[in-house]
């Protein structure tokens, strides 16, 4: 059989097979990423509201209005700060855990299974659990601290019976960053584990023969070799976190005051809850140039590290 004159057997034709295999991914990107993205650009340059989706062009008005909004600038800064701080911890913990999980020890598979759960659990469900853990009045963490004498009258941490995890500005920010690190570390770890597993064993054997010990092998051989993969893990994690609103939506709704309000949440509050769809779209689009620049920079870094 000779379909389309592409060769004796169509399945032997690399171009055809390549196109076939790529089609589902392309369709996915076009329909579920590309179309909403183009739509949000159209919304950002229009006067659209939740009740009126006529796209009347207003130029850069929404973007200028958003930029003049003090709350937006604070939200933008908070989003960047949360993302960067989280990534530092994610990178440290993911590297440590990836090294541990690539060693042989009893119960490794069970430990891996337990560890991946934060990533596998639906985020909203996990956040409801954290909302309870960090409750301003009934937090089990506070209860334990109280039993240990660290809270309550004369307590080392506070005279109150509670620390008010989600109500004190500093603690609320720390709580959100902690929960993001808890949620995102497993993915980064799994990616790094894959990287560590792919290092050719002859290189590691050679190092061992040359007398390289654990830390030297890790710092001078393993980490440089998995640097491109580490950058990819970081990129995944940063992009996911930059656009996330679920964690703060469930835990703090952006409070206290605006301390934990991030771009995704603010865009939702203005665009959907407040009905100002055009401005909500403009708020979310401010993340795009930053993420694009970040992605280009990181992918280039990964590519250079790979070449070396």
């Amino acid at each position: 059989m000779n379909l389309l004159g592409l060769g004796k057997y169509p399945l032997d034709n690399r171009r055809l097979i390549g196109a076939l295999f790529l089609t589902p991914a392309l369709l996915y990107i076009l329909l579920l990423v590309g179309f909403p993205f183009v739509l949000s650009i159209a919304f950002g340059f229009s006067d659209v509201t939740v009740g009126n989706t006529d796209l009347s062009y207003v130029g850069f008005r929404n973007f200028l209005n958003v930029w003049e909004n003090d709350i937006f600038r604070q939200v933008f800064e908070t989003t960047i700060r949360f993302t960067l701080l989280s990534q530092i911890f994610i990178l440290i913990f993911a590297n440590i855990l990836a090294v541990i999980f690539t060693q042989d020890f009893t119960g490794k598979w069970f430990a891996r299974f337990i560890f991946i759960l934060p990533w596998a659990t639906p985020v909203s469900l996990a956040m409801i659990g954290w909302l309870w853990m960090l409750d301003t009045k009934y937090s089990p963490i506070d209860y334990l601290l109280l039993q240990m004498g660290l809270l309550g009258r004369g307590g080392l941490l506070s005279d109150n019976r509670n620390l008010f995890w989600l109500a004190a500005p500093d603690l609320a920010q720390i709580s959100v960053i902690f929960v993001q690190v808890w949620r995102m570390t497993p993915l980064a770890t799994v990616i790094l584990m894959a990287g560590l597993s792919s290092i050719p064993t002859d290189i590691l054997d050679q190092a061992e023969v040359d007398g390289s010990r654990f830390m030297r092998t890790l710092l001078q051989i393993k980490l440089p070799l998995i640097l491109p993969i580490m950058v990819i893990a970081l990129l995944f994690s940063m992009i996911t976190m930059f656009g996330d609103m679920t964690v703060v939506y469930v835990l703090t709704r952006g409070g206290p005051v605006d301390y934990t309000r991030v771009l995704g949440l603010y865009s939702f509050q203005v665009g959907i809850e407040g009905g100002n769809l055009a401005q909500g779209a403009a708020i979310s689009l401010f993340a795009f140039p930053l993420l694009l620049a970040m992605a280009i920079f990181m992918l280039r870094t990964a590519s250079r590290a790979e070449v070396r």
Partner: protein, 439 residues
């Protein structure tokens, strides 16, 4: 003759079939919240099914969490397809372009049932374009809930009546027992309501009657200073991180002396611990220097999106009007949570407030709600609830303004000025769309 009779019988059957099939072809669907009182949903679903059978119309009712109502309505309007009737709990003024003008049923209800509570009209009507974008059938009072024993101990057996009482009594209770007052200052619904109530009662407001922004006033600044003092002297920092459920939980646990809420917190307690529930009393809006005002807690607002047409539209309107005509059942099965916009539809209400049919002790616990229409207002008070007011509400600008001052991060003057600036931006955008008056 026989043939004629046969023919007439045949025609009658065919006619009935035709009517039947056209009636059965008509279907309506409703989207509304999972009511805080589960008993109400049970009653409503059965009522809707019975109404459908009686009118030959298929009725489907879907319930979702109240936080999903606006996002679902937005998605359905954008898609041009979805439920025939959507019930939301806050004014959907920003959806106005995607909603049917319901002037006809608002006028029909007023003609049939008389005067409408002002809090209801202001949440459904936009004067700037003279449109009834919604039909509000009910609202929920937001009285003060106080711990009778604690307040009796400090000399207020009937609870606080003024904001001065709240500060004096609340502080005395906090100092003596460590039990705080519970007025939220966090980005959530109850905080938004409670903070507005204080501002109105001190004589401030976000906008005036003509929809001009007037937040930055001496009266608002005084209210914000008062709230900050109340927080510093009679509350803990937990109020900065409260969710909408937090004050309910605190009341049920006996860990607050006073909250502002609907009767849902009390009803929950009543089902768990009758003795503790008997210790909860209710106060009307507290008196401030400029009067006593509190926002309604939520409103029950029906809207019909523009994609609903023809027989479905007519059936939806009929459902809404029939539902209002049955409001005694609505109020009763919601355990007096839903109050009627048209008082005449629930002639039993005063009797129920004097003797709670759901077993309160003492039976006249809710009697203070007889005056609710004197002090229960709406989000845009003293103007209407327009799209700008809805966005200000969604962005939690008011509780954040208050929290900044209570946390000591900003002076009341600066916080109010900053909030005014953002609110003016929001009003300007909606005014440019022709959906807000003034300017």
């Amino acid at each position: 003759m026989k043939n004629l009779i046969r023919m007439l019988m045949m025609l009658s059957i065919l006619g009935a079939l035709a009517l039947g099939s056209s009636a059965q072809d008509t279907e309506i669907s409703l989207l509304q919240w999972s009511h805080f009182v589960p008993r109400y949903d049970e009653w409503f679903d059965a009522y809707a099914a019975e109404w459908g059978e009686a009118n030959g119309i298929g009725v489907t009712v879907d319930h979702v969490n109240f936080t999903e109502l606006f996002s679902t309505l937005a998605a359905e309007i954008d898609a041009g397809d979805g439920h025939s009737i959507v019930e939301v709990l806050f004014s959907p003024a920003s959806f106005i372009d995607g909603l049917h003008d319901l002037r006809d049923i608002n006028e029909a209800a007023a003609a049939a049932h008389g005067e409408r509570a002002s809090t209801c009209g202001a949440a459904s009507y936009l004067p700037v374009n003279d449109t009834w974008y919604a039909y509000t059938h009910g609202y929920v009072p937001d009285p003060g809930d106080y711990d009778i024993a604690l307040w009796t101990e400090v000399g207020y057996p009937e609870g606080p009546k003024t904001y001065d009482d709240l500060l004096e009594g609340g502080r005395a209770i906090y100092e003596a027992t460590g039990i705080p007052v519970g007025i939220g200052m966090s980005p959530e619904l109850d905080s938004r309501m409670a903070n507005r109530a204080a501002i109105w009662s001190f004589g401030g407001s976000i906008q005036d009657e003509n929809e001009n922004v007037v937040l930055n006033s001496e009266e608002t600044i005084a209210a914000v200073k008062y709230l900050a003092q109340l927080q510093n002297e009679a509350m803990t920092d937990e109020v900065f991180g409260w969710t909408a459920a937090s004050n309910n939980q605190a009341l049920i646990a006996g860990e607050v002396s006073y909250i502002l809420n609907s009767n849902s917190a009390y009803r929950s307690l009543q089902k768990i611990d009758e003795a503790a529930a008997a210790n909860i009393g209710f106060t009307p809006a507290l008196e401030g220097p400029a009067g006593a005002y509190a926002s309604s807690h939520v409103w029950q607002i029906y809207v019909i999106p523009k994609y609903v047409e023809g027989a479905e539209l007519e059936a939806a309107k009929k459902f809404i009007l029939d539902h209002t005509a049955n409001y005694s059942d609505v109020t009763y099965h919601s355990e007096l949570y839903n109050f009627p916009c048209y008082a005449s539809t629930v002639p039993e209400l005063d009797g129920w407030l004097e003797a709670d049919p759901w077993g309160s002790e003492p039976p006249n616990k809710f009697e203070v709600l007889k005056t609710v229409n004197d002090w229960s207002v709406h989000l845009g008070f003293p103007g209407v609830t327009n799209p700008a007011i809805s966005q200000v509400f969604a962005e939690s600008i008011i509780p954040n303004m208050v929290a900044q001052v209570a946390l000591g991060e900003m002076s009341a003057e600066d916080a109010v000025a900053q909030a005014q600036e953002r609110i003016e931006e929001i009003f300007g955008e909606w005014r440019a769309r022709g959906l807000v008056g003034g300017g």
